[in-house]
Each structure stands twice: as C-alpha cells, then as structure tokens.
C-alpha cells in the first residue's frame, strides 16, 4: 500500500508514520488471558508429556472403533431406538418453535413496548439458556420419570432457548419502515405484528427452525444417557457392558443420519435466505 516515494528534494527523507501503541485494553486482555490459562491448566492437571504418554496406552474404546459391529445398526431394537430419537427431535422442535415466536416478539421492543415485562422475559430466557440440554433431561427424568416424555420436554426447553435468542436478535435488526406504515394506517398491535414484522423475519425464522432441528437431533442422541429415551439409552447400555464394537456401530449409524438430515437442511436453508 505504502509505495516508496521519491522525495522531491534529495535531502528531505520521508519519515514512516508512528506505529500505534497497543492499547491498555489489549495489554490487559493479553495478561488476563495468560494468567487465566495458567490457572486453568493447573486446575485440570494439564501436561503435554502426560497427554502423549496416556494416548499411547492401549485403548479398548479405540479397538472397538476399529472392529465396529456394523450389524448393530440394523437390529430391531436399534431401529426402534432410532425412530424414537427422530420422533423426539421432530416433536420437541415443533413445539419449541411454535412457542418461541410469541416469546421472541414479547422480548423485543417492537413487539412489547413495556420495559419491565421485556426485561423479565429476557432474564428468564437467559436462565433457560444457561442450563445445558443434559441437565434439562436429568431434571425431567427426576420429575416425570424415565422415558420419552422427559426427553421431549428437555428438547422443548432447549429449542426455546435457542430459537428465542436467534429470533430476538433478528428482530433487533428489523426494518422499521413497514412497522411505521402499519401504525400510520391505524393497525392494532397484533395486525401490525402480523403484517409488518412476521413477514420480514419469516425466512430467517424458518431457517433457524431447521437449524434447531439439526441441533435437537444431535442432542437427542445423548439425552438417553440420563434415561430420557431414544438412541442414548442403547449407547448407555453398551457402554455399561463395555461392548464398544456395538456402541460404535450405533454411533456411526447415527452420524450417517445426522449427515443426511444436515445435508437436506442446509440445502433448504440456502433456498430460504
């Protein structure tokens, strides 16, 4: 960019511009990161030598991966567990998506002119979002017992957290023109939302819903680890008996399903946005 310039007079050399000094923020952040990293590494007992040594030890799980039992993918029990996982993902996502639209509208300025309810809703959503999916599943297993219902409820809350956050962020970048037009034409609040807000966010919203389906499908594989139904129950079963070859058969099959769903979903999402 800065090409060499021949000075007009030979005696007067051009000086390079001063380099900007690193800001106090950058220095502080750098120091903070180094200190934090050292603290964390000591806390978890991290050591590179131990890492390499441990990785060289014989590993039954890895042996199982190399001798995967492919037959496990198609046994009747695994198949029904798969269908259950798929059903949980579809139902949980649908319920979460339907409920998330009004909640997202109520948690933004355009849909809810009152500050206090808006703030309350946002903080509730922050709490929902900070609870991991497996913890939701554990809670519902305790409350409602082992089975599909607990997984379904866990996925519902998990979807709610993701969808409300993404949709609310989209709503923040809304084009206010149509809203003003609707208000100027005397539309009541719901009509304004229906005609000026929802059509604007619908493509993005549909895309988020598909993304959420992908997330839920992936999450529903592990929900069974705490007893919330689906393929995870089988994974837990094989893990407890140390049958890693069968476990890997299941996991690989699951990835194939996730890949196919993601492939289709990404195609559709590209069309939407």
């Amino acid at each position: 960019m800065t090409a060499t310039v021949t000075p007009s007079s030979s005696s007067e050399r051009l000086r390079l511009p001063n380099k900007p000094k690193p800001s106090p923020f950058a220095i502080g952040l750098g120091l903070l990161i180094v200190v934090f990293t050292v603290m964390c590494a000591r806390r978890v007992g991290f050591s590179a030598a131990g890492l390499i040594e441990n990785l060289q030890r014989p590993n039954p799980v890895l042996d199982g991966l190399l001798n995967t039992r492919w037959g496990e993918m198609f046994s009747a029990r695994s198949r029904s567990a798969f269908l259950e996982t798929l059903q949980m993902a579809v139902l949980g996502t649908t319920a979460g998506v339907i409920v998330s639209l009004p909640l997202a509208l109520w948690s933004t300025e355009v849909g809810n002119p009152y500050v206090v309810p808006r703030l309350i809703l946002r903080s509730i959503n922050n709490v929902i979002r900070s609870i991991p999916d497996l913890v939701w599943a554990g809670l519902f297993v305790l409350g409602t017992g082992i089975g599909v219902l607990s997984g379904l409820l866990a996925l519902f809350f998990f979807s709610l957290a993701v969808m409300v956050k993404l949709t609310a962020d989209t709503l923040d970048g809304l084009d206010m023109g149509p809203v003003e037009a609707a208000n100027a034409a005397g539309a009541p609040h719901t009509q304004m939302l229906r005609t000026a807000v929802v059509p604007q966010i619908l493509p993005a919203f549909a895309s988020y819903a598909l993304y959420d389906l992908e997330l839920n499908l992936r999450a529903s594989a592990v929900l069974g680890l705490v007893g919330a139904g689906g393929i995870g129950v089988r994974i837990r079963f094989f893990q407890n008996r140390g049958q890693w070859d069968k476990l890997w058969g299941l996991v690989v099959m699951f990835f194939l399903v996730v890949f196919v769903v993601e492939f289709v979903s990404v195609r559709i999402r590209r069309r939407l946005v």
Binding site: V44, P132, F140
Partner: protein, 286 residues
C-alpha cells in the same frame, strides 16, 4: 386507493411456490407420524407441571449452603476444562482453517479439510468423553480432550469463513513486495482476521462451558458429576444447589466474555501520529 369508480382494480395474483407447499406437506406428515406413533401416554403431559412443581419444591426448598464451597470449586473445574479445551481446539483449528480457505489454497485441499471439520463437528462432546475416559481415567483431562476435539470442527468452520471474507488488497500488497508464503500469512492475512478469530474463540468458550458442565454426567470431571450423583441418590437439595451454581457461573462467564467480545469487534480509534501528512504525499502514487 381505488382509482376509477366502476372500474375496480384487481389485486395481483399471489405467486404459488410448489417447493414450499411440498416442504410444508412433508413436515406436517412427519409431525403427524411422530405424534401418533411415539411411545408416550399423552395424558402424562398434563400431570407433568405438577410433578415438576413438586420436584422444584424439594430441590430449592432446603438448600445445603455448607456445600457451596465444594460446588464452586467444581464449577471452576468445569470452566477450566472448557477454557483449556477451547485453546487446544484453536491451536489445531487455526492452521487447518488456512488449509480450508479457498482463497489461500486450492479447491481440492480446501474440500478435504472441510470434510474433516464436518465429521468432527457431528460428534457430540459427551460421546467423545466416552472415548477418552478409558484412556485418562475419570479425570478432568478426559473432559478437556473431549471439548478440545469436539470444538475443532466448529471453530475451523467459523475460522475459514472469516478468512474467506478478507480483503484481497493487503495480500496483493505483500505479494507485490515479494513476501514468502509465511510472511504473506503473517502480514497480509493475520492482522485482518485476528479480532474476529479472538471473538469467535470467546464465543466458543461460552458454548463449551455448557458442554463441560454436563461432561461429569458420564464421569469426565467438573460439576456434572455431582449433579448426576445427587440426581441418582435423590439428594435433591445438593442437586438444586449445583444447578444454581451452574446457572450463576454460566451467566457470569457469558456476561464477562460478551463484554470483551463487543469491545474487540468494535475496536478503538487509533492515533497514528502525523501520518495524515504523508498520506497526501503517497496519495498520487496509489
């Protein structure tokens, strides 16, 4: 609105999107099939709120505050696991991301690297933890590796998308002065992508906190183990306290990390001395 009386304006006909109708049909059928055939007594859905209310009453009714110190320590374990894992992932993901950016390497190499990212991205951390536990035992290191390997895919994907969006100008400039491949990365690419890379790293850290606080459920260290134990021994009070610690810890880290991210991306105004004078001198040349 209506222009000429007697001559009514017709609304334009609505477009018909066949693909949209087909998609909607597919989803409705899928939903219907799921709802009908899932092994679930739907009546139980109505008793669920009462069940959950009873659970919350025993969980938060009598909190064992004397366990707070232990819980905070375990949450701190989870946070440390997430951070070390995220850093480990970044160390692997950054060089790989350069190999996945089509504007830096050829298409075939980029394609292969991206498939690696895709496979890694598909594996849930908990499954990875199952893989590492027999190697490292029931220690935080198993969790660190699970998070580290699990984040390579998504970090790499975000990173190469950032790298592909850089401006070609600085790269051309480094090429024009005869920079080597490494120098080109150091001066042409890295300064452009560094702020966004850092920001995504922190964002991933926030996500990984959620992952690492549940890894303990399968035995990989952190607060998840206590949570799972108190669930299975029906120690509801401890479970409630652990849950509160997880929520408060996660929100606290989110808030701090979010503030740093905003500051990094918005940047600051830089005072570069009296360079404006020289900009005039070189202006005619560039």
């Amino acid at each position: 609105m209506s222009a000429v009386p007697g001559n009514r304006l017709e609304l334009p006909s609505k477009g018909r999107d066949t693909a949209r109708i087909a998609l909607t049909t597919v989803f409705v059928v899928l939903f219907g099939w799921s709802a009908m055939s899932v092994e679930l007594k739907w009546a139980r859905l109505w008793t669920a709120p009462a069940d959950m209310y009873r659970l919350f009453k025993v969980m938060f009714g009598d909190l064992p505050w004397d366990e707070l110190g232990k819980m905070t320590g375990l949450m701190w374990d989870s946070i440390a696991m997430a951070w070390v894992g995220t850093l480990m992932a970044a160390v692997v993901a950054v060089p790989l991301a350069f190999l996945a950016a089509e504007n830096l390497v050829g298409r075939p190499i980029a394609w292969v690297t991206r498939q690696v990212f895709n496979v890694l991205r598909a594996v849930p951390e908990v499954i990875l933890a199952l893989l590492f536990i027999p190697v490292f035992g029931l220690t935080p290191m198993a969790g660190v590796l699970a998070i580290g390997v699990g984040s390579i895919g998504s970090l790499g994907k975000l990173f190469y998308e950032i790298i592909e969006n850089i401006k070609p100008g600085p790269i051309e400039a480094t090429d024009a002065v005869g920079a080597s491949a490494i120098q080109r990365l150091r001066w042409g690419v890295l300064p452009q992508v560094a702020p966004e890379l850092t920001s995504f790293l922190l964002y991933r850290f926030e996500i990984n906190i959620r992952a690492s606080s549940v890894l303990g459920i399968v035995g990989a260290g952190g607060i998840g183990g206590t949570l799972a134990d108190s669930f299975s021994f029906k120690a509801y009070g401890s479970a409630g306290l652990a849950l509160i610690v997880v929520i408060v810890g996660t929100i606290a880290v989110d808030t701090i990390s979010g503030a740093i991210r905003r500051r990094i991306v918005s940047g600051r105004s830089v005072d570069i001395g009296d360079s404006a004078k020289y900009a005039v001198d070189t202006g005619g040349m560039s």
